[in-house]
Symmetry: C2
Subunit: 202 residues, 2 copies
Amino acid sequence: MVTRAETAAATRRALVRAASELLDEGGTDAVTLRAVGARAGVSRGAPYGHFENKERLLARLTVDAWNSLADEVERLRAVPGRPGSRLERAVLALVGISRRRPHLYALMFSTPADTPEAAAAARRLERAFLAIVADVVGEADSLRYGALLMSSAHGIAGLERTGHLAEEKWRISGDQLVSMLIDGIVRSGARNTGSARGMAPG
Amino acid sequence: MVTRAETAAATRRALVRAASELLDEGGTDAVTLRAVGARAGVSRGAPYGHFENKERLLARLTVDAWNSLADEVERLRAVPGRPGSRLERAVLALVGISRRRPHLYALMFSTPADTPEAAAAARRLERAFLAIVADVVGEADSLRYGALLMSSAHGIAGLERTGHLAEEKWRISGDQLVSMLIDGIVRSGARNTGSARGMAPG
DNA sequence: TCGTTCGTATGACAATGTCACACGAACGAC
DNA sequence: GTCGTTCGTGTGACATTGTCATACGAACGA
């Protein structure tokens, strides 16, 4: 027995899946509503029954990606080990999705989190990440170091993705850059515990 | 007297200028060959007499931007003052162009420097930037710190541009993040002069 | 002076996002 | 069980855009 709601939900899932695959395979240009419909087994106009327009469909992909990344970072919080190594893994998680799914990553950060759903997903990730940062530098400085690490991770991911961080040229890998940052922060945090105030105050 | 070569060169300049303006005003979507031609006072097909296709026209914009940024950083090298403050200004120059011309910046870093001209322009910027970095951390570590600062600057610029680094949320500005980085590097460089090896070795 | 060259204008075409409209089956009320 | 309704879907149509083929026309060189 197939209710109408069930088939509609299945179609919607198929559309999202098709768009996700097409994005990974050929970038944003390859995500055509006609191609999405074809891969999902429906016509070119069917997506408009589920998404206001193409932009909304792509926004759905980014929200899912934000949430999936938030899941990953939240799980990381429970991993045993030194806080510094957890933090390093969290930063590498951000860089990792850019490596595994570059087109999706570019899409995630090509636009502000303009829908409430996207904002909530982004907040989830930020909160999970900040908790891991706080375990290293303390609550008071978690925002500053969190912003710094997120920015750097984003930059490393971006430059890697476009080949501007080629290791032959800079003699250093993205992973090593992350290590530099983490070690510098851990060390500065260890130098003046108590106030937990490394580097320069704003 | 207007020779044919002169008018052609003028048209080409007008096309580049029109494309640049349209990019700043409305982003990549607004850069339509028809709109470019109209603003330049020629027809929609005229650009094909000067550029292989739309992509090449946009590539011209990015090469000019890379070179202009390289000029700026090269000039910075001669500014008197402490090396650390010069370095900070150089990093802020990278972030600055993203603030002044966000669409152009996004375009610059949306693609690898695939033409020889683009690669040369990018190399100019990197070389100028590395010289300023070397004045602070020494020649031996300039590559690692240069890569780190460029990545971080790129990330700050990117997150700022898409609103993901909103100051109300993170309680810190992009400029302050740059300060944190510079101060941390200057301080770690001062801590162990001689080997000039701050933070963790790769 | 005359044929050539080359920048430009125009027509045309395919691809794409989007809307209006029509069909048809699942659905709910009786 | 019947019937009008709802809603997901398919299809035709249109504007926009990148791109190419072709034609025109003025500057150029012999």
